[in-house]
Symmetry: C2
Amino acid sequence: MPDMKLPTRAEDYSEWYNQLVLRAELADYAPVRGCMIVRPYGWALWENITAALDQRFKATGHVNAAFPLLIPRSFIDKEKSHVAGFSPELAVVTHGGGEELEEPLVIRPTSETIIGHAYAKWIQSYRDLPVLINQWNSVVRWELRTKLFLRTLEFFWQEGHTAHATAEEAEFETRQMLDIYTDFAVREAAIPVIPGRKSASERFAGADQTYSIEAMMGDGKALQSGTSHNLGQNFAKAFEIRYLDKGGVLQHSWTTSWGLSTRFVGAIIMVHGDDQGLIMPPRLAPYQLVIVPIYKTDEEKATVMTNARKLRVELADAGIRVKMDEREGMSPGFKFNDWEMRGLPLRLELGPKDVAKASVVLARRDRPGKEGKSFVPQQGIAGAVKRMLEEIQKALYDRALAFREAHTAEPADYAGFKTAVETGFALAWWCGSESCEERIKQETKATMRCIPLDQSLGADGSAQANRSGKCIYCDDPAKEKGIFARAY
Amino acid sequence: MPDMKLPTRAEDYSEWYNQLVLRAELADYAPVRGCMIVRPYGWALWENITAALDQRFKATGHVNAAFPLLIPRSFIDKEKSHVAGFSPELAVVTHGGGEELEEPLVIRPTSETIIGHAYAKWIQSYRDLPVLINQWNSVVRWELRTKLFLRTLEFFWQEGHTAHATAEEAEFETRQMLDIYTDFAVREAAIPVIPGRKSASERFAGADQTYSIEAMMGDGKALQSGTSHNLGQNFAKAFEIRYLDKGGVLQHSWTTSWGLSTRFVGAIIMVHGDDQGLIMPPRLAPYQLVIVPIYKTDEEKATVMTNARKLRVELADAGIRVKMDEREGMSPGFKFNDWEMRGLPLRLELGPKDVAKASVVLARRDRPGKEGKSFVPQQGIAGAVKRMLEEIQKALYDRALAFREAHTAEPADYAGFKTAVETGFALAWWCGSESCEERIKQETKATMRCIPLDQSLGADGSAQANRSGKCIYCDDPAKEKGIFARAY
């Protein structure tokens, strides 16, 4: 196990990220360019993300299913915006079973088309609606520039696809799922996000409206962390998803789709990580606490291990995810660094003196050094650990929010705007024209991340009274403010 | 919803199966030949299968991960038996991002090769062993003759891949996982299975030894329901998975792989189903009980629904998976048939008279008609339902076992053998020669399913004393008995 230090974030943020992902054994490069292997520690985090979302989806009436990986090439062509958006990114299967196929197949880049085809068959009457289906799978998009978790040829995600009888229901669903992503990000991942509407140029290929949650990473850049699309009747018309309404009239359905991917793992790393490594939010951490037994002699080892095992059982029985580090031939100091790098929220140190005093040392990952250490009696340890995990969860959120607010400006003019997007977000009035948006992007590399749903919030989180202003680029009247930032 | 009856199993077993899968909405045909859509009801069953297995894998120290879908074509060629077995079945990606690829990629037919490549990188020392990884995913094999769940181009499964320091550990792991599949089949799915060793001709391509569990379907044919492979050092040598042992000597690892797929859904359908439709084993059933409220007037409806909702909450709180059928405009009789076809283990009928008497009618799916009906007081209903679900689980297992024993013969000669495999399993001495095995297959269409691990068991489940006999085909001395059957 290499013991070299990570580069600091200030030295090289990108390299800090890459090395951290590899050294914490979250993921590894695959032999095919741009693909990744999600290693067990990374997958355990993803499984916890999955469980937290899946429970929310089911509580709102959604069910899971599985649609095929392979889609006829011709399906992609049926929706005109969709084909324009996805054609350049397709992986194409031309041969199967040793023979050339009559029609090439593509590996799904997303499943609107094949699901649209199925819904057209399954939906006949208003009684069949709504259809509320989600699937957990992987998709393939032939990206040129890739980075582990953030942009890979194959990535893992969930994609929800729903069909409704009315435009209102579809819009309600689209916004409901955005709310679920927001709630998940805030409560489970301790990541403050800005829910908002995308501009036309940033919409999903084939959507009438795209909403997203946007988070600020540790370098001030934005990461789109989940999206929800109102597809209007676009796919219903392309695939003939029709139903007989109560009056016996044939109508096209209204559909939505929404997804959150392994990109979100990248968000967790970049929002919470520090120069020592990862910091896992307790509610999603694969392990919430590591026990490091400390001893020198065999006699000490026997005493300490007996006590350590008892504590492990007690903590695990209370529902805490515990790792016991019993590795031989490694110093406690090495183990401390190793688990700090991997981001376990709490470390429990137990030596012969602790056993004698019936106490333990608990060290918080989010507060390095002495400040984060406390002596805690073994009596009632599970309760103390649970309280501390909740404190850490809250502290991580508060810190991330304070960081975002400190790096979000509401610039008075374009000069101030240009400075703001060097280091963070700019919240700015926008006239709504695509040309202003495009010029800003050309000149500053900052894109319009979203138009926040809550227009009353200022950069520092305070409420604002203004309902209109002047476009930050052209000075024309503007009715909405957007978040602009450089983005992953 | 079409109300036509299923064909009976006696009329057309294959068509009974196909229509049942479609009408119970377990799965549907995809637009690509041989692929399937697993619909929400089928996927809910698969999720319960997944959970029951995953818990067993984790309890024995395994962790999950995710390896890529795309594998360089050249990887498949590295293990000589593997390439021979899988080359004819590959789906090949030749284009990505609009350009022809330098090296074609294949969609994984199974992941030994790409995982072997990763393990070679991750494993350096005996301290890194064992590696115990599983993944839940889908794989693609270009099959010519397909059938929903039983054989599809893309299918869903788990594939475990482990690496060990010694041959003994690898064999222990291989057998442990076979035991886990057996325990799962028996306890969760109520399916009696025969764990055994495959003959050389039926081994996985690249394995030293393949073990399987074999189940008898309702038509007497066999279904291989899970496999566990001891790969020896074959893949370790092909991919250079090596470790430094305690003495500092470089050694090749010993690896295993094991898998269970959505084929198992086919087993559940064909083992338990009857002419009315599916019968779900209670422990895996997406819904264990359906409440069908019965009323005529609005006043009756109000009374019945209030009581029904109270019962639903009480049953759900006790951990029972409950479906309430509130559909309007359908007769109770229609609903009874519909849920029978979908195989819910229990039906709770509640009409105004039941409300007045504070009782309900419970109807068992596995015992049609009056025999399966009982009046049960609402007081203590959850306990009564749980006991009944346990009884049904046991009754399904007992019935399947009795069926298998009634359709398994231990023929005295080859003429008897030929008759036996017309309707079920033949347990017969085999000399071990591939030519006898091949001739039997040519002449009877029966293949050697497995050599049961427990050689003392007779066809009727009784213990047998004989430890040797004469080959059923050539009369040469034989030391082992095999199960021969026609198979899916």
